[in-house]
Assembly symmetry: C2
Homo-oligomer: 160 residues x 2
């Protein structure tokens, strides 16, 4: 029961404090903490939310396309769907048209759960972005989107 001992870096050198890659990492870490803490109070994790959103907005899908839509690796998606199916939030059944596939679909309970998580997430995003004004939040989203879009699809400059 000792208090956590890392006060982040109150006195880091400026060279580190202003390094964009480091700032991104730290901001992401805080974001992850806020979101994970909030979601865990609802017994959920971000992947659960991502999967539910994809199913709701884009309809039932095989695990492979769900993987593409959420960014969850297909080998990790198995467990996520297991957990959601265990709680009857999604249904997983074999695809009669292609027996390699499972079709995953949202149940009514899943849709209700999703709208609950949605409210929760909205307020978590708000916690996260508290120090920024409305326009600043849009600015941030815009800048990050352009960054991500630019780097998406690039794997490694110096690959084998």
């Amino acid at each position: 029961m000792t208090a956590p001992d890392m006060p982040d870096d109150p006195d880091a050198p400026a060279r580190l404090r202003t390094l964009p890659s480091r700032l991104l990492g730290m901001a992401a870490m805080h974001a992850d903490r806020v979101v994970a803490a909030g979601l865990s109070a609802a017994d959920a994790r971000k992947w659960h939310y991502a999967a539910l959103v994809a199913l709701h907005d884009l309809g039932p899908a095989s695990q492979a396309t769900l993987s593409r839509r959420t960014g969850i690796h297909r080998s990790d998606l198995v467990a996520v769907i297991n957990e959601l199916a265990d709680r009857d939030l999604v249904e997983r059944r074999p695809d009669p048209e292609d027996r390699r596939r499972n079709v995953v679909s949202l149940t009514p309970a899943g849709a209700r759960w999703l709208s609950h998580l949605d409210d929760l997430l909205r307020s978590l995003q708000d916690d996260l972005l508290r120090p920024l004004s409305g326009p600043e939040r849009e600015q941030l989203v815009d800048l990050l989107t352009r960054l991500v879009d630019h780097h998406t699809g690039i794997r490694r400059p110096t690959e084998g």
Copy 2:
């Protein structure tokens, strides 16, 4: 040596694509990849750089204060210092004034190595931020700094 199979999320629902916490996570991931790949070409990792910068800018320090200055957890710092000391980039010796402590200091070779890494990192940040203009980069740094500053020091809203 097969190609990576995750095209990120080309067709994720908008609700996910614009979620700030998710954007932060993805941007940070890309940033980490770019930086880690660049540094690994120089046989270094970001913690090595952070430690060297802290030693250079703020002078010799015990591992505990170095931990506070870099944000590296003190239990992880051990290995970082080991690796740097193995290459004679830093020196670790017991503090005569407090025999619990080690004093870690930069060697001349460490200083040279740091300035090399500095150049490297400058160009990596540039790669990372390529899609953004100069003012936009400053904007991003400003927004992220305020975000991080705001959340720094907060541990867990729902701690035991």
